[in-house]
Symmetry: C2
């Protein structure tokens, strides 16, 4: 398992409830791809959302995000953490 | 205090030791601006580093990163977390 940070853009005006609902939609199906979404951080003004996960691949992360209705703009493996 | 996610680019080939040293350099002076750097995640292949902090402003975050020798490419307030 590798950690991934993915970035969503175009989410201007996202609310706390919408972020929670998007996260819940990911969690509901993440196990089907062996993914676990750990945390997400949103900037409603610029519409950027960062999402941290553990997953077998970036493609697995994207498949869950796509099925949940919010495909990522970019996904990076982040094997180094401090 | 607000949470911020900042992004550094151009760090291709960064090692675990270099990430730790960069984080230590931030921690050593962060209190002078009322900033606290919480965590950072690095992708050595693409050279992107994500850095999560609590701070009074984006400018305060940048001042610490600049003085520590690694200015951020972009800094976003992320008031929403899940």
């Amino acid at each position: 398992m590798t950690q991934f940070m993915d970035v969503h853009t175009g989410m201007k005006g996202i609310t706390a409830d919408q972020l929670s609902e998007a996260h819940r939609a990911d969690l509901a199906i993440e196990a089907e791809e062996g993914v676990h979404f750990k945390s997400a951080w949103a900037d409603p003004d610029s519409g950027v959302v960062y999402c941290l996960s553990e997953a077998p691949s970036a493609e697995a992360v994207q498949r869950i995000h796509e099925r949940a209705g919010h495909p990522a703009t970019e996904i990076h493996p982040v094997p180094l953490t401090v």
